[in-house]
């Protein structure tokens, strides 16, 4: 085994061990598994939130985008910040409601707020449809990291299967708390790796970040303003994308549900205050991508820019460290996605189908069972349908953000009811699918998902206005199912 590979394997095993040990004592139940018994303070919530935002896409994708697209990649710095600002207002009331009613999942929220099983089911479907490609992307990134770090000695398929199996073990045994603990390793390793290469690589080749940027401005001035190295990603695209992804940020079922693990609503607000600072490593990742553009232009796959430059510039053990950090950076979000999707399916599809005759232990078993089913599905997709990942990811974000009107109206507007939200959701989703399939993304210079979101919001608001005109004011329709 080569040095980099040994380091990566050690990394993955240590992370998994921490995940298994991190479960703590006592019997596992759905409350502990899915929301950590709602006892997490600022630190664990921070780790979880950070665990979700720093994915393989940030590590490889952000450097790849900086390398190939330039300035449009800056949206990655901006959208998380917008997401945190929105969460400052949105999450505390959501948390209070979740606490009062013992909610575990995002569809639980929709069911409790709108009293509509149809809407809750729609939310499950959109959630899972969006999560699977996102999970698939983490796996593909992980495979790429190991394959490059081992210089092809380990194929990406083998790496994907092994690392994912290890991830499944700690999610299966420990649930969300195990993931939070693994996040510590991941975040420390990721920050160290990014700090070293983000500052080190520009210094190594150009004598500093400032000199590297000056060289970039001299050689590729157009790269550093919108639309950068693209023809379609102008300012309009960036603005609409920041809005779309900022609003979609907490719409992911696993991100939304991770808010439930906080011990109180103030924790969430404090978290929102500090989280923007956690975006800074992304800036360093951009610097790596820029350096790679100057040092080794013309790479066939821009996503490999960071790894290729690291391999070329550092000794094997450090390349292994970066690879290991990258591998864990794929495992933690993959674990969150798995946990989120399986809880969703077990609680909001399986249990309603069984008409309520499901005990808590049964639900716990079902969640674990569905976790394995979803894991195998994503694994199969990652192994046998490896293309179109970026397209799928874009589609995932475009789709999941359509939940935003339903969440925001649910929290802030008393009159909002299920039917307008369903109509808007369906309309927005249809517009997104139509625009992407017909090759119209961007549409009129705007992100297609944003166009869908605008249609969604408009339909929802119109339907609310029309619907409330026909109803007696303040009347609610109680559950209609038997």
């Amino acid at each position: 085994m080569t040095t980099p590979l040994l380091v990566i394997v050690a990394f993955v095993l240590v992370a998994a061990a921490v995940g298994v040990v991190g479960r703590g004592r006592g019997e596992m139940n759905i409350e502990r598994w899915a929301v950590g018994g709602r006892r997490f303070g600022v630190v664990l919530v921070w780790l979880l939130t950070a665990g979700e935002i720093y994915t393989t896409f940030t590590f490889l994708g952000a450097s790849g985008w900086a390398y190939s697209r330039g300035a449009p990649a800056f949206y990655i710095l901006a959208y998380g910040t917008i997401g945190y600002i929105i969460s400052f207002f949105l999450l505390p009331p959501v948390w209070r409601m979740a606490k009062r009613l013992g909610l575990h999942t995002q569809p639980d929220f929709f069911l409790a707020r709108y009293d509509s099983p149809a809407l809750a089911t729609l939310v499950v479907v959109i959630g899972v449809v969006s999560i699977v490609p996102y999970l698939q992307l983490q796996l593909a990134g992980l495979g790429m990291i190991v394959e490059i770090a081992s210089a092809g000695a380990v194929s990406s398929s083998v790496a994907i299967v092994v690392a994912f199996a290890v991830t499944c073990v700690f999610v299966y045994t420990s649930g969300i708390k195990g993931i939070a603990w693994v996040s510590i390793i991941k975040d420390v390793a990721m920050i160290v790796a990014v700090a070293v290469i983000g500052i080190g690589l520009p210094a190594m080749y150009f004598g500093g970040v400032g000199k590297m940027l000056a060289e970039l401005i001299r050689q590729h001035p157009a790269h550093l303003t919108f639309p950068g190295g693209t023809t379609t990603m102008g300012a309009g695209w960036v603005v609409s994308t920041v809005l779309l992804t900022g609003m979609g940020f907490y719409c992911w079922p696993h991100t939304f549900a991770s808010a439930f693990s906080a011990k109180d609503d103030r924790t969430l607000r404090r978290n929102a205050v500090i989280m923007p600072l956690y975006q800074l490593p992304v800036l360093l990742v951009f610097f790596v991508g820029f350096t790679a553009l100057l040092v080794m232009p013309g790479l066939a796959n821009p996503d490999t820019a960071l790894l290729a430059l690291v391999n070329r510039s550092y000794p094997g053990w450090f390349a292994g460290f970066v690879g290991g950090a990258g591998a864990v950076t794929a495992m933690v979000p993959a674990a969150m996605l798995l946990l989120g999707a399986s809880t969703l399916v077990a609680k909001n599809l399986y249990r309603p189908l069984r008409r309520g005759a499901v005990s808590e232990q049964h639900l716990m078993r079902a969640s674990r069972g569905f976790m394995l089913v979803i894991a195998v599905t994503a694994l199969a997709l990652a192994l046998w349908s490896p293309h179109e990942l970026v397209k799928l990811l874009i589609f995932g974000y475009d789709g999941i953000a359509q939940l935003f009107p339903g969440i925001a109206l649910g929290v802030f507007v008393r009159r909002a009811t299920a039917r307008p939200v369903i109509l808007g959701l369906v309309a927005g989703f249809a517009v997104v699918v139509g625009l992407i399939w017909s090759g119209n993304d961007p549409f009129l210079g705007l992100n297609a998902g944003f166009v869908g979101l605008a249609v969604n919001a408009a339909v929802t608001l119109v339907a609310m206005a029309v619907g409330s005109a026909g109803e007696p004011a303040g009347a609610h329709v109680p559950g209609t199912q038997c």
Binding site: I30, T81, A112, L224, V242, P276, Q279
Partner: protein, 93 residues
């Protein structure tokens, strides 16, 4: 008994209305400033010059506002806490 606890989140709870009444207008305004700078501001700063601290202006602008956001949100946090404390105090008496 266990089952009842879980089911409490189900439709039988009826439509629950929650209102985010604990956020005063000042907190909203404070949080809106960095949001506007990072969204609406972008088309107006889409240039390289002036280079600040070695960063092209566009990147400097985005980075600067990301760094300032915690300050604006901290102000919003303090305002929201104060408003909540006032509301609680009023209700208590």
């Amino acid at each position: 008994m266990l089952r009842t606890r879980i089911v409490s989140g189900s439709p039988r709870a009826g439509i629950i209305v929650i209102v985010a009444g604990d956020v005063p207008r000042g907190a909203l305004v404070s949080a809106l400033i960095p949001a506007l700078a990072l969204v609406a501001g972008l088309p107006f700063v889409n240039r390289i010059e002036p280079v600040v601290l070695g960063l092209p202006f566009l990147l400097f602008w985005i980075l600067g506002w990301v760094l300032l956001t915690p300050v604006f949100l901290a102000v919003a946090y303090v305002l929201a806490r104060a408003a909540a404390a006032r509301a609680a105090g009023g209700a208590g008496r």
